[in-house]
């Protein structure tokens, strides 16, 4: 087996809100082509972790390396975050898909997908249209290109949001509970699209509560609780032969809930 290059590396990332420490030293490595899933109890800061990776929230200590660039690090005992311009370039290469979709409500589906191609990638309009249509086609939403978000179902909105991220041709996409806000019958459609993208080689970092989704899609699972990664490994290990008591309890409780 060839060793894939790391796309994203976190070392001892720390973040607190006031006196409440949310991230207490998170270490994480995402390899090229990997589908990495973060699971764990609710309210523990999994979403905060994702939002610190693209600096929607500012981490307070630790280092984040993305495609061999330091986005934040300790330098001579100072904690430094890269300049805003560099952060923006990095964000464009790791777009995020949100639980609440967050489509631009004043724009059509096609305009939503084109927006960052025009403003961030500064593509010519004709070229942006071609790339946006291609991305919409990959998530089977081309037929809705002229619809507005309010005319779409939750599942369709999320597929457009995925297309909006895909169109940037990013090395990695961050998914923050992508199916948590969907009606049950729409969940599997969105999940199978994400699974297909992974099969096509896209690197993804996903936070989710859907254990079946994790087991069907993940290459690697990180169990996150109490501010750090407790255990990580292939899904078989996490779900069948966990090495820590914390994970064993969690797996037991979630499987008890499903049966």
């Amino acid at each position: 087996m060839t060793t894939a290059a790391p796309v994203l590396t976190l070392q001892q990332v720390y973040k607190s809100y006031g006196s409440h420490a949310v991230l207490r030293g998170v270490d994480l490595t995402v390899l090229q082509g990997e589908a990495l899933f973060i699971i764990g109890p609710s309210g523990g800061g999994k979403s905060t972790l994702l939002r610190c990776i693209n600096f929607l929230e500012r981490p307070e200590a630790g280092s984040i390396t993305f495609l061999n660039q330091k986005l934040c690090q300790h330098y001579r005992s100072h904690f430094e975050i890269a300049p805003e311009k560099q952060l923006r370039q990095a964000r464009a290469r790791m777009p995020m898909v949100f639980q609440q979709f967050n489509l631009f409500s004043h724009q059509t589906t096609l305009e939503n997908v084109m927006e960052a191609l025009l403003t961030v990638k500064k593509l010519h309009k004709d070229q942006a249209v071609i790339l946006a249509r291609h991305a919409l086609d990959r998530v089977q939403m081309l037929q809705k290109q002229n619809n507005y978000p309010h005319q779409l179902s939750g599942g369709q909105k999320q597929r457009v949001a995925i297309a909006r991220a895909l169109a940037m041709e990013p090395p990695v996409i961050l998914f923050d509970e992508p199916t948590s806000a969907l009606d049950p019958e729409l969940v599997s459609g969105v999940q199978s699209i994400i699974r297909d993208l992974s099969a096509q080689g896209l690197t993804l970092l996903t936070v989710t509560h859907d254990q079946a989704f994790v087991q069907s899609t993940a290459h690697k699972v990180c169990f996150y609780a109490d501010g750090h990664i407790v255990e990580s490994g292939p899904p078989e290990q996490i779900y069948n032969t966990p090495r820590t008591e914390r994970v064993r309890q969690f797996v037991h409780s979630v499987s008890a809930r499903h049966h």
């Binding site: 964000r91 777009p95 995020m96 949100f98 004043h106 403003t119 961030v120 507005y148």
Partner: protein
């Protein structure tokens, strides 16, 4: 039959020429008020304390003094400082400054009401704050505030009657002249009221139409009523 109706072919065009001045004043003041109001709102939301504080004072001063006093000051008292404006432009300036204070609060509320999730999405795609402001926040805030802006336009149209006090030859002042010739205040004022009604009603319909055109989804019923300035008082900090 009253003198007004027997000479209506003479007096109606005279009143309508006054209405034309009213419309000119309204459009100029609205455009000025929108631009100045937008700049004020932007400054208050983005600037340092050094920018914010004077703007807050500006908004409060214009909102907390009567429009008629503002107009009288601009027309009769500014000349003492060497600033002499023709009546029409003194009126336009007063209305613009007054309206900008109110509109800046409308815009500020609309800008702050733009969905945080959509802002996060824009940030996470790598867009810059300026791009997000220009491409996401302004378009959404403008459309969201359209009904309120429409209400202010109608209020403005009617507030224009106040500039008759500083001798601008608009609709109400022309009416006063007609009455001094005909001594028929009843018919003249009724005609004036009808002309104001037609102008306001037409404006309201136009704003509703614009609103529907810009928001393909929401079919707002009823359109803009006479939303008076007080409607947004609640958002003052």
């Amino acid at each position: 039959m009253s003198v007004f109706w027997s000479e209506v072919h003479e007096y109606l065009p005279f009143l309508l020429s006054g209405a034309e001045v009213t419309l000119q004043l309204s459009f100029i003041s609205m455009a000025g008020g929108m631009i100045l109001g937008f700049l004020t709102a932007t400054g208050r939301l983005s600037g340092s304390r050094l920018i914010r504080w004077p703007l807050e004072a500006y908004v409060e001063i214009w909102r907390d003094t009567p429009l008629i006093v503002q107009l009288l000051l601009i027309y009769f008292s500014l000349p003492e400082l060497g600033i002499i404006l023709p009546a029409f432009w003194a009126g336009a300036l007063g209305l613009t400054l007054n309206l900008s204070a109110y509109l800046s609060e409308v815009y500020r509320a609309a800008i702050q009401a733009v969905d945080e999730g959509q802002k996060s999405a824009a940030i996470s795609l790598g867009m810059s704050p300026l791009q997000i402001y220009r491409r996401l926040i302004i378009p959404q805030a403008f459309v969201a505030s359209l009904p309120t802006q429409g209400g202010y336009f109608i209020a403005l149209l009617k507030d224009c009657s106040l500039v008759s006090f500083i001798s601008v030859n608009e609709l109400l002042r022309h009416a006063t002249i007609v009455i001094s010739n005909t001594f028929d205040s009843m018919n003249t004022y009724l005609m004036v009221a009808l002309i104001y009604f037609i102008m306001s009603f037409t404006s309201a319909r136009c704003v509703s139409w614009l609103e529907r055109k810009l928001t393909p989804s929401r079919h707002t019923k009823g359109g803009v009523a006479n939303v008076m300035p007080e409607a947004v008082e609640g958002i003052t900090p």
